[in-house]
Each structure stands twice: as structure tokens, then as C-alpha cells.
Subunit: 264 residues, 2 copies
């Protein structure tokens, strides 16, 4: 649930980005802010691992296509769509969810800038869930056949894909335990905080782009319960929250309350 350690330091990523974008033909990329976006990208460490000036690096960047911007509530992909690409969130937030046979939505996850979605579609060869933007959002699209082919030539890419996939196995199972509503909410907030921090964004003060209902659905609680827990957390000084603006006042204690969930 914590983030990829190798992502945290970005010694000299901008130069890499600059070089790569020297030939941005395929996608509609090339605007001035790309370097900033890529800095948070889940593939950033692959680029670093590869080194400068290699043809493979260009290959990786050439198979990226920028998609979006999406407005809030749009679909990046839909449940049942044939699987051809994986996506990385460049900016914004994406919610993945499926709809059960009774028509009820099941939120599977929230995905922040730099995170990859669609890996769970490889096996069924169709997307097993919807990906819906929660705010204005931009994504990168990676053709999976192309990146697979690249992986056979570049062990670093293959290794990175294996690691991302393996990591998701762990995160997918982390909600499975039977935990109290307090523990679930605390773990949720602490996890979001860490993921923001891992991408260089403020981890103790951020905006919740999802509704209470989405949080509740994700945590398998009633939205009323989420509301009550947040109110209680605020009343004991753990957090400040007005609307969707959140301030963590005691992250260690929050982590502690949610520790069962945070693969402790």
C-alpha cells in the first residue's frame, strides 16, 4: 500500500524527459508542461533505469499517447471493453468500479497522478471494470502489445511490469480483512496521504475528489458511517475537514488506527 520506493527520488528526470520529447511524433504530446507530468509518472523509474540516449527509451516514449483531458464523470474505459492498453493517470483522479448483477456499483479503487490502471484487464483480455474520472483528468495510454514487445527487449521494462502487477495483488487484497469502520477510514486517509506524498504533493493537506458515498462504497461501509467516523475523527483532533478539504492533524495516530489494513 505504501509506494514504490524507487519512485521517490527523482535525481535527474527532467533531462530524460526533455530528450525523450525531442521526438514526440506519435501522440499529441509536446506541450511545455509534459516534464512536470512525467515526473510523477509510474514509468519514470523505468526511464531512469534505462539511462540516457538509448533507443529503447525513445521506444517507450514513442508508444505513449496522451488522452484527455476528460471532464469529471467521463469514462477512460468501460467494463467489457476489449483490452488493448494500460493507462497512467497524468493529472486528476480516476475511480475504477464495477456493477454487480443487482446494478449496484462496487468501487474498486481511486487512482492518483502517476498511478497505472488497467493491469487487471490482461488476464480476461477485457476491462473488468469502469474507469471514471472524478475531476478534470488527463491520462497516458500505453499499447499493451507494444509495451509487451518492448519488455522482451528491455528486461528493465519487463521487470517493472512484473513489479507493478505484483504490487497490485497486494493492494487488491488489503480491503479483504474484517476491520472496524474507524480502521477502514483511517487507513484510507493515511493511504491517500502517503500516495500523494510519494508523488511530491502535500500529504497532510489535500482535496478529496470523491464523494462520501464513493469512499463508503470503496470501504464497504454506509456513507452515513463514513460521515460519522469523519465527524468523530475531527472531534478528537485527528483531522480537520470541511466539505472535501482535508487536513491530517495526527498522521501517525491515523496510521496506527488503520494499521491492520496498511499491511503492517
Amino acid at each position: 500500500m505504501t509506494d514504490e520506493p524507487s519512485n521517490k527520488p527523482f535525481p535527474t528526470p527532467l533531462k530524460i524527459r526533455g530528450r525523450a520529447h525531442a521526438r514526440p511524433r506519435h501522440p499529441p504530446a509536446g506541450d511545455g508542461r509534459d516534464a512536470d507530468f512525467c515526473q510523477t509518472c509510474a514509468f519514470a523509474d523505468v526511464c531512469l533505469a534505462v539511462g540516457y540516449g538509448m533507443t529503447e527509451l525513445n521506444a517507450l516514449h514513442c508508444l505513449v499517447e496522451h488522452v484527455g483531458p476528460f471532464r469529471s464523470g467521463e469514462y477512460v474505459f468501460r467494463d467489457g471493453d476489449p483490452f488493448r492498453s494500460i493507462f497512467a493517470v497524468r493529472a486528476g483522479t480516476v475511480k475504477t468500479s464495477s456493477v454487480d448483477h443487482t446494478g449496484r456499483e462496487q468501487v474498486l479503487g481511486f487512482h492518483l497522478p502517476g498511478e497505472v490502471i488497467g493491469l487487471n484487464a490482461i488476464y480476461p483480455d477485457r476491462f473488468p471494470c469502469n474507469a471514471i474520472t472524478l475531476e478534470k483528468t488527463q491520462c497516458c495510454r500505453f499499447s499493451f502489445p507494444k509495451i509487451s514487445a518492448l519488455a522482451t527487449q528491455m528486461p528493465a521494462v519487463q521487470r517493472h511490469l512484473f513489479r507493478m502487477l505484483s504490487k497490485e495483488i497486494g493492494t487488491a487484497g488489503s480491503l479483504a480483512g474484517d476491520h472496524s469502520a474507524d480502521a477502514r477510514v483511517a487507513a484510507f486517509l493515511a493511504d491517500l496521504s502517503e500516495r500523494y506524498a510519494a508523488r511530491g504533493l502535500p500529504g497532510s493537506r489535500f482535496h478529496l475528489s470523491m464523494s462520501r458515498a464513493d469512499i463508503a462504497n470503496y470501504l464497504r461501509l454506509a456513507s452515513e458511517t463514513v460521515s460519522r467516523v469523519l465527524t468523530r475523527f475531527r472531534s478528537i483532533g485527528l483531522i480537520d475537514i470541511v466539505e472535501r478539504e482535508l487536513v491530517l492533524r495526527d498522521p501517525p495516530r491515523l496510521r496506527d488506527i488503520g494499521q491492520d489494513l496498511l499491511r503492517g
Copy 2:
């Protein structure tokens, strides 16, 4: 949660096995029953995909090591062990579980013959759980560096690894929903049934190699609740169960009760 479709038919696997075992040097393999074991192996379809007589096929089989037999209650690997290999169950049953900070066990899964364990260790580079045998069990060990190297040369192997990893993302999340005790138990039994059937074993009549407490722990229920549900299922003619011998009397209805959990 259902099994790999491409595993179900085994047109002509035995010949492949025979050829492969023509040079069983590395591992202590080579006994007469290997063909039977491999027939249920998770890598069987890879072998099929590769075709006959290829050097890569030999490479795949050469990097297999047979480990065990383990007696009931032994460890295949332990939480925290450095990750070097993935394992496939050849015969028997393996339980994976972790221990939380309070010392309580958390059962993550049960693994039947032909299923692979250890994929969730790639990312942390250590095993994030224990793997404990529930009965007399034999496994195959695949060096991960070696199989990774092989994957760069053989797209079919890479593809298979990607697919297995992706599949586990789905299964790992399937317990996350908030489902009734009835639904959980029904889904558990139906899932076991299908997995046995997928390997050519009788799917409506089998032995539960795990205790009620293990089942309950896995399903995040109390063992008393599992007991009550099983008793009720028997009383309404859904199943027969004495001790750990189980007969499914109405698999469709069982699936129906557990449908929420069984993805779709």
C-alpha cells in the same frame, strides 16, 4: 475466480511431458508419475503453446525443481523470506497466510494442485506471507530470475506470467465486498468446486483439507458462523457434509447464493 479457460482442454500434453522429461537433470524429477502431475500444472498451457521439440521447452522444464513432499503443517516459504522463486502446487493443498501485528493469523488463500503461489512476492522482493501445507504436499519451484530471463526470449512465457499476475489481482479483490455469511460460504464452496473441476478432479464431491477455523478466517467470519451456515445449507439440501467430506447437491443454487462474490 474461475479458472484459466486455456487450461481446461489438454489435447496432447503427455507427449510433451514425456519429451521434456527426457532430460531431467537439474531437479530430482523423473519418476514415473510426473506426467500426471504436470498435467495439472499451471504452466501446462505454456508448454502447449510452445509446441514440440523446442529448446525453450527444455529450458522451462530444466529450471523446474521438485520440492517436498511436505508433511501437513510444514512451510513452503515464510513471511519475510527473500524472494527467489515462485511455486506451483503439484499435489496437496497449501494455505497462504500472514500474521498481523496482534499476532492473529490472516488466511489469504488456499491453493490446489496446478496453482501458483508466490507471485505477490515479486514487488516487495520478499514473501509477504507464509505458505503452509494442509496435507501431504509436493510443489514445483521455478527460479524467478531464470523464468524472467526465459520470458524475455519466449513471448509465450512472458504472456503467461502477465496473465497469471493479472488474474491474481482479480481474485485477491474478490473477498473485499461486504457480503453475507451465506454468500461468502456458498461462493467459497462453488469456487473450490470449479477449481477442482478445472484440473480434472471431481468438482461436486471432494475433501476439505482445511479446518472450519481456516475457512472462517479466510472468509472473515467466525468459525461458529461457518459451522452454522454449513449446517443450514445441509438442512435445505444444498450440500451434504460429514466431517470434511463434502458433496454439492445443488451447485447452480450455490453459485447463485454466492454470485456477488464470484465476479459477475
